[in-house]
Amino acid sequence: MDYNWIETGLQLSRPELLIIGGTVAVIMLSIFKQLSRTFLFLCSCAILIGAGYITLLDIQSYTGQTILFKGAIGYDKFSLFFKMLFIAIAFITMLFSYPVIKNWTSGFVEFLSLLLCCTLGMIYMASSRTFLMMFLNLEFVSITSYIMAGLLRHNKKSIEASLKYIIYGAGSSGIMLFGMSFLYAITGSIDVYTVGNTLRHLDLPNSFYLITSILILAGFAYKMAIVPFHMWCPDVYEGAPTPVTAFFSTGPKIAGFAMMIRFVDGVFGKGSSPFEWQLIFIIVSVLSMLIGNLTALQQNNLKRLMAYSGIAHAGYMALIFLTFTQDSIGSLLFYSVIYSIMNLGAFITIIILEKYYNIDNIQSSAGFAYTNPFLAICLSIFMFSLVGLPPFAGFFSKLLVFMSVIKPLNYLTLFAILVAVITTVISLFYYVKIIGAMFLKQGGNFTITERVSLILNAPMAILALATVAIFITDWDWLFEFCKSCSL
């Protein structure tokens, strides 16, 4: 038998091998009691840095498309881009989670290893080409997420979050499998590109597309947190440990989008998705924008607010499936980079507020700006960027998505963009509410128990700087790079 394909596959997936090997090593090392937690943390960071470095080398030199492991995963710039992005997200999350998790009585090593494993699952999600791999990796990420959400075992809310996550997750992935089984029965293949080719030669009724699309969308939309599969989102975000929430709001969500892009690209092809499919997407994205933004207005808890903001952002991102051209995919990649920068930054500020000042809602943060102006300024930068106001990076990401969507101008896209713009204006209210509470209101004294750790402050400052810098400097190269990485 010929095993060259395994050799090639393993050679091209060195970052993944490093991550899985590192995970096992971290678990094994944790047996030795004399090794300090800092050491394990540094090990995990080193693993991610190594994997990121290898990916960086690959992404610079590589052009073209390779299919690895007999069609299981695709190795191209698209998957390399997401590999890089996920490793970066995991690295930043690991950095700023350290001050929080180092005092946990249990679950320290588990957090590190689960974060590494989740990164692996997300990487494979972005590169899977078959239904089997898609489902498996979705479950991989989901199961790690369930455990991570329930890491604080004594906290009732954490357990509730985990349980809610499991129930919604199990239901929606079951529905997704049901939908996939229809496509498999029709085409006899699980490879998305083969399925697409076969479907183009068949004359199938439109309602078939409608039903299978809704069913399959359930699994993806649950990961992306799009309405109507968003119900788990606020509770899980509130209950899970805050670093984990930060991770959920960026990593798995973007991984869901990456998988969705590959799926739509395979089954429907670029720019030619059937009308039913577009209709579904316009409905879910408009609903996400509306529900996300309108419900966020009434939120007082910071994490819940971020959850609804995340739902709204998923709605903006989902707009690109209306047109689904190379440009729009590129703009989504750009959006996901900017979104993860500002969202992670916003969550770092929330972690600091929670850990050092015991603030977890808007009311109690009144007048906070006078206690720690640096943090308040960083938070306002992230918030303004999340709205999409001009001097920050969020403006461009939104603008590019809207522009790429509106190109084939018809009443559908026009309607979608109108809703998007209106809801963006609505979103201004609740983001500014936080900033207003901090700067304009008078509040009580905020006592600090210890100095804010540098490991929290530094990433926050760097992310805030990046948000501004991408706007001021020439951001075009980033967009060009994203476009070159699109499928």
Partner: protein
Amino acid sequence: MLRELFFVAASLLAILTALLTVTRKNPIYATFFLISHLISIAILISTLKLYYLSAIHILVYTGAIMILFLFVVMLLNLKEEELEKDFSIHLKLLYTLAPISVMVIIVGQLKPQDINLSKLSQLNVISFENATKALFDKYFLAFEIVSALIILAIIGSILIAKKKV
């Protein structure tokens, strides 16, 4: 002849037991009907000559998963009044009509020739040997990912079940 007979019988049994599972109020009965449903599915699989798959199906579901299920249901030992809680008639209607309408739309729209059974039979996963070969050939990565997934699940369950914190 015998195969067709078994096929029809097993499919009818599967539908019947599935319905009974959903409609029983007593969770123990529901579990037993679920088990018989899974067994009839296994018979259904074996009429397609996928004997290996059917044996694995029985081994995994009735042998392991459902036993644990039964265990939990028996240990919980739900009270009568807790069992009396019921859905309203509207919800019941919704839950029955939604799947039926999905099935009607899909099955009603498809022509039998659309379903590509010829490709299914080309799978070659029919015998045990071919199934194992496929696992280490075409589905190599999926197999490895499943193993990593199981390790993860073990870590998670130990973390949750650990007594000493």
